[in-house]
Every structure is written in C-alpha cells, then in structure tokens.
Symmetry: C2
Subunit: 462 residues, 2 copies
C-alpha cells in the first residue's frame, strides 16, 4: 500500500534526445506564506526559444512534478511538437525538493528540512517564476499556458485555479484530482489495472488472481523459496513472511505500472518495456497451468519482462523501491502530508488480495517515518477536489487504460472546465511525442488540446 502511493510518472520511450534547451536558475523564498524563515534557494528551469515569436508568442510552461525536470522536458513531446505552430517559448520548471532544486542541498530530504515540500509552495515558486518571465509586468506581454501530466497535471490545473491572473489555461493530463478521501472508491485504481489486463485476456486476470494464494502457500517451504529465487532470478529469496509481503507488494505495483505505461510503443522510463506491455506479459499467463510451479513460472516471465527487459540487471531486487532515473523520493513525504490518496483492493472486482484502506495505520507509519501526521482533507480544502465549477480554462484529459483515470475528471464540468477522454490511452499518452503507433483517439485529443490552447490565447489578447 505504502509503495502504491507513489504517483508514478510515465515518461517515455520515443523521447527525442535532440531536444535543446538552456538550463537556468531562479531564486525563490523557502517559505512563500510566512516570513519567519528568510532563506532562499534556486530552482532549475529549462528554456527553449527556438520557435518563440518574441513579444507575441505564448509561454508554454510545464509545472514540474516529482522528479528531475530534464526527464519531463525530454518526454513531454507534445509541447515540443506544437511549439513551432504556436510560436511558443517552452519553459520546464523543476519542482522544489526534486532533481537539483534542493533548498538544503543533499540534506533537503532530512526530516528537519523537508517541511517546505508542499504543492502550495511549488505553485508559488512557479507564480514567481512566471511573473519574472513576464518581466514583472502589471499587464504581462504574453499569455502563459500550463502543461503537466500526473501530479504535474494536478499542479497545472491547480496553477490555473489558484493563479488565473498568471496562467491563461491549463492542459492537465491524467491528473487524479479526485483521488482523495470520499471522492472516489479507494479500489478504483486497482479495478482499472484489472480491467486493462482483462481487455487482453480474462484468463490472464484469473491466473494472476489465483497466484497470490499460491505464492503465499508455496513460499512456506525453504526448498520452494530457493526454487523461486532461482526461477524468478531474485537477488534475495523470500524467506520470511515480511519478504513475501514485500515481494507481493512489488508484484502488485508491477501490474499497476504495466497498466499505466501500456503504450503502443516501446518505452524506457521506469524500466525498459516493450510496446503494449500488458499484452506482451499476458501471453505468459494466458493458459491453464497444470500446477503451482508452472503458474509461478509464468508469473516469473512477467516479472522478468517488467524488471529486466533489457537483461541489464544481474538479478531482480524486489526489495528496492528505486524507480529508475526519476528520483521521486520526496513523493512519499507529500503522500504523508497533503497528498493523501486512499488506495485499496477488494479481492472481488480486482485481481488482487483484499487489502482495505486503513488511514490510521497509514498515519502512524507516516508519523514514524517523518514525524508528521497526514492531513487527510488538506488537498480537498485547498484545491476543491470534486468542486471545480468555479474554475475555468482547464482541460482534464484521461486515458481509460490508465489506472489513475479512476481519480480523474471524466465528465466535463462546465463550458471551460473540460474533460477529454482517450478511450485507448494509458497514463498521459497525450503529452508524449507523436508516434506512428498512436491510436486515433490520442491524435484527436491533441487536436482538442490545440483548439483550447488557441482559444485561451485569443481570449488573452482580447
């Protein structure tokens, strides 16, 4: 559960390495909302002006999320793909406490320094940066459009909501703004994971569903754990109950991630994966197995593709919570403070073991780790959650293959707060660079994005 709270950012595959940008730094106060602490620090931002029509063209501003900004700049191909058409300046701003935007250097994530890692502070950083980019002007010379995916999509939407005078509109892709207490059932994420697998094969889902009991029973013998370590190429055998739980959590995350990044092309973000990874892995568990070992061997193939597709790892370290290049280690803190996203499984409508959401247990774990108690209602109170009627100029896009769509806005809220549903899209596929394998629905979604962006820009000039 703990690990499932990572809001994994799916970045991509077909990223073009030739994107060029200037790397710059901008000074921000540690605390925008109080004056007791007067430290400042630098956040990183990346700029490309190749296509910018100075003085007329808009700024396309990526509201960086939990990771190094270079990764987002590299993989948010949609912004690069449309920059020329809109004669736009591209800016990618790094979120405080991620990447190199560290207020206290390598001590930033220590409990005594991490407390200023909040979405409100990050948005205030972005507001200051946009104000600076607009020349601190009372009447800014050009409009700013916010873009973001996943948590970055939430930030893009929130940026427009809280600072509409600074941002003309926002493309918020796969932003689970409803993934908070009481707004959607906590099992919705895992239900969608399951349905993304079921689309490929019902038998695949049935086998995964039965694998949990098999695995728990199987690992009771040390002979079996030795066999499992060898067959699954694990770095450590799952010898203890705790190890088995860790392994099961790892597998559950795996299925979630596979559904999330179930793109129609090869991707290499969290781990290298083939095109249509759900389809690829399901072929190994899409049959009637004659015994437990055969079933587990099939699951082992899934694991091998997920964790070692390029055969670069000597063994699979299921105890590691590392997510490749994207260093999102601050996210657990955000999940333990304001971004409390209940997650559960029912064991009925999903292919997982039953695991209820237990806020109290979660809160105690947060307290033990970070000496904070989560503010269960904070995000709803700050950002409205299910009450976005008064906002404007936001596109909330979601792919229905994406487990995070469950916490997304799938119905248009008003004339200007618009839902865009991409039936066969995974996690913020619409922000990715265009690709020959793109389904028609994402091509259509990108057209709608461009129409809205153009509308917001025209409104700005009126």
């Amino acid at each position: 559960m703990w690990r499932a709270l990572f809001l994994l950012v799916a970045l991509l595959a077909t990223a073009k390495s030739e994107y060029k940008y200037e790397t710059l730094w901008f000074k921000v106060p540690l605390d925008h909302f109080g004056y007791q602490r007067n430290e400042t620090f630098q956040i990183k931002y990346l700029v490309n002006e190749d296509y910018w029509d100075r003085g007329n063209g808009p700024i396309f501003f990526y509201t960086g999320n939990e990771g190094q900004i270079e990764v987002f700049a590299k993989h948010t191909g949609f912004m690069w793909d449309i920059a020329q058409e809109f004669r736009a300046k591209l800016v990618f701003a790094e979120h405080r406490y991620y990447g190199a935007s560290m207020p206290f250097g390598n001590k930033s994530l220590d409990n005594k320094h991490i407390g200023y890692l909040t979405s409100a502070q990050a948005l205030a950083d972005y507001a200051d940066l946009v104000n600076y980019l607009q020349g601190n002007a009372i009447k800014p010379p050009y409009p700013v459009i916010a873009f973001g995916g996943s948590y970055g999509g939430m930030l893009a939407a929130y940026f427009r909501m809280k600072y509409p005078h600074i941002v003309a509109g926002a493309i918020a892709a796969s932003a689970p703004v409803h993934q908070f207490t009481g707004m959607v059932p906590c099992e919705v994420y895992n239900r969608i994971v399951t349905s993304s697998f079921k689309i490929v094969s019902g038998r695949c889902v049935d086998n995964i569903k039965s694998s949990w009991a098999v695995l728990r029973n199987f690992t009771k013998s040390s002979n079996n754990t030795a066999w499992l370590q060898k067959t699954w190429n694990l770095c450590d055998p799952p010898n203890t109950t705790s190890d088995v739980q860790t392994l099961i959590d790892f597998l559950q995350d795996m299925y979630g991630t596979l559904a999330m990044v179930n793109y129609p092309f090869e991707s290499d973000f969290l781990m290298p994966l083939p095109a249509q990874p759900v389809r690829v892995v399901c072929q190994y568990v899409n049959k009637t197995f004659k015994d437990d070992k055969e079933l587990l061997t099939g699951i082992g193939k899934v694991l091998d593709i997920y964790a070692n597709y390029k055969k670069t790892n000597k063994c699979i370290n299921y105890k590691s919570s590392s997510y490749g290049n994207l260093d999102a280690s601050g996210w657990n803190y955000q999940a333990c403070t304001e971004m409390v996203m209940p997650m559960c499984t029912t064991g009925l409508d999903d292919m997982f073991e039953k695991s209820p959401w237990n806020f109290t247990e979660f809160a105690e774990k947060c307290h033990k780790t970070y000496n904070v108690y989560p503010m269960e209602q904070a995000a709803r109170i700050q950002y409205g959650g299910n009450r976005l009627q008064a906002a404007s100029n936001i596109v909330l896009s979601n792919g229905l293959l994406d487990p995070w769509a469950g916490g997304g806005v799938l119905n248009t809220v008003s004339d200007t707060v618009v839902a865009v549903v991409i039936v066969d899209g995974a996690h913020h596929l619409d922000l990715m660079p265009q690709n020959p394998n793109d389904p028609g629905t994402v091509i259509e979604a990108r057209k709608i994005h461009k129409q809205n962006i153009r509308k917001w820009i025209n409104e700005y000039w009126k």
Copy 2:
C-alpha cells in the same frame, strides 16, 4: 507615511449593542503551507443561529480583519439586518494575530513569532473553519457567503478567488485591491481626502494646505510651541523637528480618517465623532484668517473634535499611534511584508506637503523594525490585483467619499465580478447597520448586494 499605511477600519457609530452571539474557538495549524512547524493554536469565532434555517439556510461568514472580531461583529450591521430575510447563520471569524487569536499568547507579535501573520495563512484558517462548519462534507449542505470591509473586504474577495469551492460569493466592501505598486498613483488616497474636504469648502482645503508651512515656521520659536501646546491642548509641546514631523503626520492621518469615516451619523469607532465630521470640522477653517495664530487656532478646533470630541482626554497625545479599541498593531507588520501599499502626496492635487513614496526608505525601516524586507510584488502575484477577469461572484463596493476608493475597483470587471459605486458613501458604509440618515445610494447598494447574494445562493442549489 509609516502611519498612513494603517488600513483603518471604520466601524461604527450606530452599532447595536444588543447583537447576541456565542463565542467559540477553532484549532488551526500555525503553518498551513509547510510541515516543519507543527504547532497549532485557536482562533476565535462568533456565531449567531437565531434566524438560521438549519440544513437550508446559508452561512454568512465575516472574514475578520485587523482587530478584535467582536468589534466587527458589533459593527457589521448589514449582516445582522439581512440574517432573518435569508434565514442565515452568522459567523464572524477572527484574523490570526489580532484580538485573542494569538498563536503565541502575548509574545505573538515578537519578531521571532510574528512571521505566520499573513493573509494566505488567515484565508487557510477560514477555509478550514468553513470546512468544519460544513461538517467536513464532500458536498456541503449549504452555501457560504463571505463578507468583509476594508482589509476584511480584500480577504472576502480573495477568499472567493482562492477558494471558490468553499465560498459561493463575496461582498467585498471598500477593499483596496488595487492599492499596490504600479496599479494606481500613490497619491490617489490623499487626493480623495482632499476632494472630500473640497466638496464641503474650497477655503477649508486652502487653509489646511497653507497650515503646514505656517506650522513649521511657527514652531521654530519655543514661545510659540508653548502657545501651541496650550491652545491645542497637546500633552507635549512640539519642541524638536522630529516632534513637529510627528505632529504633522498625526494631522495628516487625522484628515484621512475624517474623510474615511465621514458618515451621515455620529460614530464612535476610532474616536467619537459627530455626524458628517468633515462638514463639522471645516466650519472652523472655512474663513480668511487674519494671521497665523488665528489659522492655527482654527486647526486646533479640528484637532479637538477629532481627538477629544467627548472631552474624555486630558490632553491630546499626538505621539501615540493607538487607535482606540481596535488593536491593529499587527498591521504594520503586514504592511512591511506582503501588503505593501504605496502612499504619497504631491502637494499639488492634494492639501498636503509633497511627500513622495520611497520604497527603499520604507523597506529599510521595515527591516530595522521587523528584520524583514517587504515583498513589493507579493500581493499582486498572489491575488492578481488588476487582473480579476477569471474570478467570479464578487461584489466590490466603494463609496466615493472614501479615500480607499482610489485603490478600489470602480468598474465592473465581468458579468460576475461587479463594481458597486456609492456616490455619497464613506468607508464601507454599506456594511453598517441601516440608519435613518442613510443616503439613497447606500440603500440602493444594499439592495444590489442582496440580489447578488440571492443569485449566488440559487446558483449553489442548482
């Protein structure tokens, strides 16, 4: 200049002492936007449910400003006057660091504790409180309408802007949301002070205008300062250049305050004053004086009415910056951090000596006093200032006799961000209890307020 930055809250006169309320307390975090500090404290709020239609009636929520909340509850008669008609619950919330809502008791205003006195933190307090009053509900059972005057009016408007999911609409009376760098000329406040006097008598203005040089010249002799102390009933003679400056600042504030609270009925807020105080005082300086002493004697009469109308003070303490019952001592800190409101006089279009706005000097004074430097652009970046197009459901009312109207919004911004101009109103007269002497324009303004409130409530129920 320093003292002129006080955003004086004009409260009133005809306040009905029979208003009844329950006094309650609500726990808030010291810091809503960071988790490094985990202290909490209590803010005070007052509640009246006499007319409330439970489960259907709205909450009318006063966003407390710089002072004890009882003072606002007592004087915001408009809310009491319409409670029955709307079957509303009344809530008056006290602003942190004012009144009894002190995070660190009587040490709260010490430099090492005062840093969490910001508008953003106060608004977050109010959001938490409203959420609590709404039963922490995902779909709140009744709408909330925000009310506020002066800085409280700014807060009411900002509350709707930043938390539209929590507040259905806002009546923002005499809210100088444009009184920030670059939005309006810094002399506008004092220009309106002057014109409010000029309406009564041009000669009054001319005499006040010539009094400054007279006073400076006159006080060069100690015989004269002794005479002045006696004639003006001053506690101390203005013997030094610094004293003279303090006295002049006191007089300048006096004229500003007289214009601000230039109500058609007796008032007793900052100091007891007669109805139409500008008219009353001008009668003492509305002639051709034969010499300096006669002119100064006239000014002394003005001073006497302003500072000792009820003859309860033994002498006039022009060195005191106390403002009666409203303990607004935190305001200077807010003016020195985020609420930087440039003020100046030109000596041309106003009846004062020329005194330019000098941000650098101001900033150094703030630094010396509070160890902070003012964030000149903070309010504009946070709240939009002159760019309110994307906001909705806000009424911004201003009386044209009120010097703060210069920093107010006098032109309707959009269908739902509406300006209400009260031609012969002083500072947030529309929020005061109804009075037989009310001009027709304020009666009309209150009707418009009620229409808007009804519209917002109906919208909420749709």
